[in-house]
C-alpha cells in the first residue's frame, strides 16, 4: 500500500494521457493557435540550445579563469550571458560555489524552478515532491540516497528557489586536473555536480 516509488505507470493511464496530449496539440493546431512545427521546435531547442553542456562550459571556464570565476560569483547572470547562455528561466541566475567545508544543494520546495539555459530541463527527481520535502530538512540523508556521503564536518547549504532566482552549483575542481584544457574539463562536469547531488567526476586513473 506504499504510494511512492512505483510512480504509477499503468499502461492504460499512459495510453490515455498520450491521446489526451495529442488531442490538445492537434486542436490548438487546427485553431491556428500553434504551428505544425511548434512542439517539435520547442523540443529541438532543448536538445540543442539549452542543456547541461552549457553549465559544464561555465564551470570549466570558472575553474581555469580566476577572473571569470570572480565575475560569475558576483554577477552570475551577466557572466553566463557573456557566454551566450540566457533566455527563459535564466533571466536571473545565481551560482553558488562549493569549497572545502561547504557543499551546496538546490531545491524548489514550491514547484520546480531550475536554470534552463545552464542545465536544461530538470530531471524527475528534482520535480518529485519526495526530493523537495526531504532535501529541505535532511539533505545529508538525501545525498546518501544519491550515493554521495558528505563528511560531518562539511556544512550543507540548501537553496530553495522560492522567488525568480535560479541556482546552479559550481562544483570543486577535481584533483589531478591541473593544466587540463576546457575541452578536457567539460566532461568531468556532470549535471548532478551542478545540482549538488554529486561531485565533479574524478579524473580517470589510467
Amino acid at each position: 500500500m506504499t504510494a511512492n516509488h512505483e510512480h504509477y505507470h499503468h499502461p492504460e493511464t499512459e495510453r490515455h494521457s498520450a491521446a489526451r496530449t495529442k488531442a490538445i496539440e492537434s486542436l490548438l493546431l487546427e485553431k491556428g493557435i500553434i504551428g505544425s512545427d511548434t512542439v517539435d521546435k520547442v523540443i529541438t531547442f532543448f536538445e540543442t540550445d539549452m542543456g547541461p553542456l552549457n553549465g559544464a562550459k561555465v564551470v570549466a571556464r570558472a575553474w581555469t579563469e580566476p577572473q571569470f570565476r570572480e565575475w560569475l560569483l558576483r554577477d552570475s547572470t551577466a557572466a553566463v550571458a557573456s557566454m551566450g547562455f540566457f533566455g527563459a528561466e535564466g533571466e536571473h541566475i545565481r551560482v553558488v560555489a562549493n569549497e572545502p567545508g561547504v557543499h551546496h544543494l538546490i531545491v524548489c520546495t514550491l514547484c520546480s524552478c531550475y536554470p534552463w539555459p545552464l542545465l536544461g530541463l530538470p530531471p524527475y527527481w528534482f520535480k518529485d515532491p519526495v526530493y523537495r520535502a526531504r532535501a529541505a530538512i535532511e539533505p545529508r540523508a538525501v545525498l546518501r540516497e544519491f550515493g554521495l556521503d558528505i563528511p560531518a564536518g562539511t556544512e550543507i547549504r540548501v537553496w530553495d528557489s522560492s522567488a525568480q532566482i535560479r541556482y546552479m552549483v559550481l562544483p570543486e575542481r577535481p584533483a589531478g586536473t591541473a593544466g587540463m584544457s576546457m575541452a578536457e574539463l567539460v566532461p568531468l562536469v556532470t549535471p548532478g555536480s551542478m545540482q549538488g547531488i554529486e561531485l565533479a567526476r574524478p579524473v580517470a586513473s589510467t
Binding site: 511512492n4 516509488h5 510512480h7 504509477y8 490515455h16 494521457s17 498520450a18 491521446a19 489526451r20 496530449t21 495529442k22 488531442a23 490538445i24 492537434s26 486542436l27 490548438l28 487546427e30 485553431k31 493557435i33 500553434i34 504551428g35 505544425s36 512545427d37 511548434t38 512542439v39 517539435d40 521546435k41 520547442v42 523540443i43 539549452m50 533566455g87 527563459a88 533571466e91 520546495t109 514547484c111 520546480s112 536544461g120 530541463l121 530531471p123 524527475y124 527527481w125 520535480k127 515532491p129 519526495v130 526530493y131 523537495r132 520535502a133 529541505a136 530538512i137 535532511e138 539533505p139 540516497e145 556544512e155 547549504r157 537553496w159 530553495d160 522560492s162 522567488a163 525568480q164 549535471p191
Partner: protein
C-alpha cells in the same frame, strides 16, 4: 492548509525517487512543448500552472507524476478560458484512442512558432523598477508573516512565523503574482535571500548538523524580527 504550500520538511515520505530522466513517457515531452507554446504566446503564465497544482487534491498532487499535473492543469485552463471545448477534447481523445491516424494534418500558424522560440531566447523576467528602497539590509533579522494563502503563494509554508537573517538583497524589484480573493496581485517588491536555521524551522525533526536553509523571500512576506 494547502499541503502543497508546505512540502519542505514533510515527514515519512520514504526514499527519494532518483530518476534522472527528464521525461519518462513520450507524451510528456509533447505536453511540455504545448506548455512552452502557451507561455511564448502569452496564453498563460507560470502562475496559472502553479495555481492549478497548488489547488489540487493533495493526494493526487503526491501520487500523480509531474507531467500528469501539467496535462491536467493545461487542459482545465484551456477549457476554462475558452480556447478549447471540453467536449471536443473528449471526442478527439476518443478518436485518437480508437485509431492512431485520426488526427487531420493542418498547417497551423507559422508566426506562432517564431514568437515561441523568441520567448525561449528572451525569457520573461518579472523584474520591475524598484519603487522605493528595500526595508532590510544584509544582517537584519526578519520574520516571515503568519498567514494562510488564498490559493497561490511564493512563501513556502514552513517559513511562516519563522525568523532568519538577510544574507543578500537582490537588486531591483520583482513582480509577486500572489493574489487574494479579490484577484489583485501583490505586485513588484524587493526580494531577499534569507538564511534560516533548520532547527528553527523544524525543531528536533531537522537533520542533526543541518546548518543552513536559504530561501528567496519577497519583502511583502517579511517583518522585522
Amino acid at each position: 492548509m494547502r499541503v502543497q504550500h508546505n512540502v519542505g520538511g514533510i515527514q515519512g515520505l520514504g526514499p527519494v525517487w532518483t530518476e534522472r530522466r527528464i521525461f519518462v513517457e513520450p507524451w510528456e515531452e509533447r505536453i511540455f512543448g504545448v506548455h512552452v507554446a502557451m507561455m511564448g504566446l502569452g496564453i498563460w503564465r507560470w502562475t496559472d500552472l502553479r495555481k492549478k497544482a497548488e489547488s489540487m487534491n493533495p493526494i493526487d498532487y503526491f501520487t500523480n507524476r509531474y507531467y500528469e499535473k501539467w496535462l491536467g492543469g493545461i487542459e482545465a485552463f484551456l477549457v476554462e478560458n475558452g480556447y478549447l471545448d471540453g467536449a471536443e477534447i473528449e471526442a478527439r481523445t476518443s478518436a485518437i484512442l480508437n485509431a492512431a491516424d485520426a488526427v487531420p494534418q493542418v498547417p497551423g500558424s507559422d508566426a506562432a512558432t517564431g514568437r515561441i522560440v523568441d520567448y525561449l531566447w528572451r525569457g520573461d523576467s518579472p523584474e520591475r523598477e524598484l519603487g522605493c528602497a528595500p526595508s532590510f539590509q544584509v544582517g537584519d533579522a526578519v520574520r516571515a508573516t503568519v498567514y494562510e494563502p488564498w490559493n497561490h503563494t511564493r512563501l513556502p509554508g514552513m517559513l511562516r512565523g519563522k525568523a532568519g537573517v538577510v544574507d543578500l538583497v537582490y537588486e531591483g524589484a520583482y513582480h509577486l503574482p500572489e493574489a487574494g480573493p479579490d484577484g489583485n496581485e501583490a505586485g513588484p517588491g524587493p526580494v531577499y535571500s534569507v538564511r534560516f536555521d533548520p532547527a528553527a524551522l523544524w525543531g528536533a525533526l531537522a537533520e542533526p548538523g543541518h546548518a543552513a536553509f536559504y530561501a528567496d523571500v519577497w519583502e511583502h512576506y517579511l517583518e522585522p524580527a
